[in-house]
Symmetry: C2
Subunit: 514 residues, 2 copies
Amino acid sequence: MSKIRHALSVTREADFAAWYQAAIAEGQMAEESGVRGCMVIKPWGYGIWERIQRLLNDRIKATGHDNAYFPLFIPLSNFEREADHVEGFAKEMAVVTHHRLIADGKGGLIPDPEAKLEEPLVVRPTSETIIGDAMARWVQSWRDLPLKLNQWANVVRWEMRTRMFLRTSEFLWQEGHTAHATPEEAKEHTLTMLEVYRAMAEEDLALPVIAGEKPEHERFPGAVETWSIEAMMQDGKALQAGTSHYLGTNFAKASGIKYQAQEGGEQFAHTTSWGVSTRLIGGVIMAHGDDDGQRVPPRIAPWQVVILPMLRGNDDDAPLIEYCDGLRATLTGQQALGEPVRVLLDTKPGKPAQKRWDWVRKGAPIIIEVGGRDMENGVVTLIRRDQLWDIETGKLNSQAPTREVAGQTIPGVLGDIQQALFTQAAERRDANIATGIDSWDGVVQFFANNGKYPGWVEVQWSKPTGDALEQVVEKLKVEKLTVRNVPRDATPADGTCIFTGDPAVERIYVARAY
Amino acid sequence: MSKIRHALSVTREADFAAWYQAAIAEGQMAEESGVRGCMVIKPWGYGIWERIQRLLNDRIKATGHDNAYFPLFIPLSNFEREADHVEGFAKEMAVVTHHRLIADGKGGLIPDPEAKLEEPLVVRPTSETIIGDAMARWVQSWRDLPLKLNQWANVVRWEMRTRMFLRTSEFLWQEGHTAHATPEEAKEHTLTMLEVYRAMAEEDLALPVIAGEKPEHERFPGAVETWSIEAMMQDGKALQAGTSHYLGTNFAKASGIKYQAQEGGEQFAHTTSWGVSTRLIGGVIMAHGDDDGQRVPPRIAPWQVVILPMLRGNDDDAPLIEYCDGLRATLTGQQALGEPVRVLLDTKPGKPAQKRWDWVRKGAPIIIEVGGRDMENGVVTLIRRDQLWDIETGKLNSQAPTREVAGQTIPGVLGDIQQALFTQAAERRDANIATGIDSWDGVVQFFANNGKYPGWVEVQWSKPTGDALEQVVEKLKVEKLTVRNVPRDATPADGTCIFTGDPAVERIYVARAY
């Protein structure tokens, strides 16, 4: 084993929040930018986002959506039309008020008082109102429906407490917006997109999620129904990984999205919106990472296989590079998980062991080291990131297949790693969901007595509304707990409400959350 | 011929600017958003941008760049460090001054005076200064160089007079930023990226361009050298379609990008930046469009082949749809121009002739109509967008190959169309560049006497600097003319300077420009 430090500077067990920051920094994912609340997404982190984009974009197009692009700036008056919506976002909006800078006479610059905008512009926190304006122009008749749009964009929400990937003032996302003739069709589409997100999370990110409806008090501002996918992180907290909203006619009325019905008469359209963001990357780190850094699922790894020749930095390296390039070429010509294998032959200067551990911390699924002796023996040294250590000996785990065998088997191994990460995360989650608790006191006890990382509880409630709901929200708040969602495919409620003791109507997950 | 109007509402000859707006509107590319200077890019327009992105992104990665993402907001103080740079952009910057809205007490909203930012933030007009900050953190030693980054992003320049795609307050682009150890390497890279742009324009957009260096007075603010690709539009004006800048150590000094040299000692890095934007789409429209609308080159067409069954809107349509779907499946399984053919089977409701002309105006390269009789005869009706009319008869030009022949030949026809569009644009350009003019009076005469769309002149000059250059700039301004660039691969100057009569040192193109 190398003397070079490999593990992250802090373990998950010691301090999960610090571990998360270390995994990001040492995995070369992102860093603070110096601009309040905004991060720089570094090439490895952005490469993961590009992979997520590519795969999700295909899913979004396969469900009949077109991409389009709408303005970054939204006139302030747009927000005045939907009361709940502005109430939800007004406190965290970046506002553009000037369109020119001038010298301040002291060597600096100030916004030019002569160049003040008549109507301030808001940097979009989400685009329902501006896309609603376009839909109102584009929808005239039932023949124009459904209208199914998607946008990949940056959005800004002025968050007071930020955390990289999970909550930043600017973030990248996709936002889908659709308009339909009937509430039934719009509701069905809300669930279609929820299912797209579930499949993306589980199949691409190897992230097991629970798809369900958010309770009333957790709805998107202006929505009639909000659905989410919820994932468990390794500290037992929940991460809302994507949301899909049925907006009723709220935004159609605010923007005037009306159509001539087939049976005559003018009707308001029923709209939906749904989004996932760079927050997903935070979820991947916290669900799959270990004390040696990240473990990136092969489907979303920018490089699935990294080949590291043990170079001397002189002309003698040429045969070794050629030997490695043969494996690279073999693999690139093959398919893993339905796509050509993505292989990097890394010949950058640097100490071999240092480079190996850099790639371990970045989480490349397979690392292949090749030294002169390997070449002589016709083999390569293969390290699976998901099986880094031999549990019995505590030593670094590696195999030495021949180059030919490596070329044949690696595509299958990538599929195995994808599956193994999902299975581990699913087993960990399922082992950390408590059931059978039937009172609020029991819930409070559970979270008090189950250590640093207590997990979730699945309980039942009577779906309170009005004052009763407000009391529930207050109780949750005191304990820093949240209702995650009402799982879509749960068995029917059969117990009592933890809050009231009344007969329950739904199952819910209660957890701490990001 | 159909009674449905097909040609745009205005011809190129009658009013090129109005024709351009009509081509955009009737080709369903984009529209005004209602937000000052910002447009909505509609699905067909955005689909073209996605194609350009995909192809250019591959070229950028093939030349060794990684994508990353940097903040939208740039602290005002960043701009104070490079004097030329801020001078160039200060007059058109959107400035964020507040982070919250509150009710104004009259039913409206205003920026909250309590939530004023201590330091205003500028919405990025370009990212040299913020990426320079990151480069200063990332570059320590010569081993960290070259550092080659690219970003796909939106940027904002508060333009007073906007025109869709060509000049909008917000636009989409890619901006590459690299740092190198030596001026030679940085200059060489500037030209490498210029060549990437030339190849992209000519091979993907079928847009012939002249690659060359901008004269001193047209440089990017803060650059040492600015290079461009210049294309001729059908009104004879020039469009700057992409630029590549050698920035010397100007931004390295402003941001502190320093490295330990291999031979010892600390040095400033030499940086480059280069970008192309959604303006390219305007160039495609103005170079290739005709009086029936757009003609999109097959490489960047979201759909290369659109199949239109002449549907009756009832159950009898099923066999016809199946017949068309057979052709769609055949074509989708084949390659044209190195990629799987992109085919849309368009079964949306609508009158067949109306749908045909919608696709003509959008510029789909091949439109295939199939009626019941075609199916009985085993043929399809094939329309090439670049050969829409029979020149002799003035009638719509179509062929009726069997379905099998169509399936076999269409991939090759797409290649032919790509080539034909390039050749037409190149011949038109070459026919509209005048040579042999050796005086400024001659240039002025040329533009006065050559009608509405005079084209360009290739002339020679002595590359004036200082006061002499200022006089030249003044002369150009009076005539609304510009120096486009000094072509990179021109034969050496052999004549006299049009401005001074002195021996010339360079050839230049003079033209009106967008």
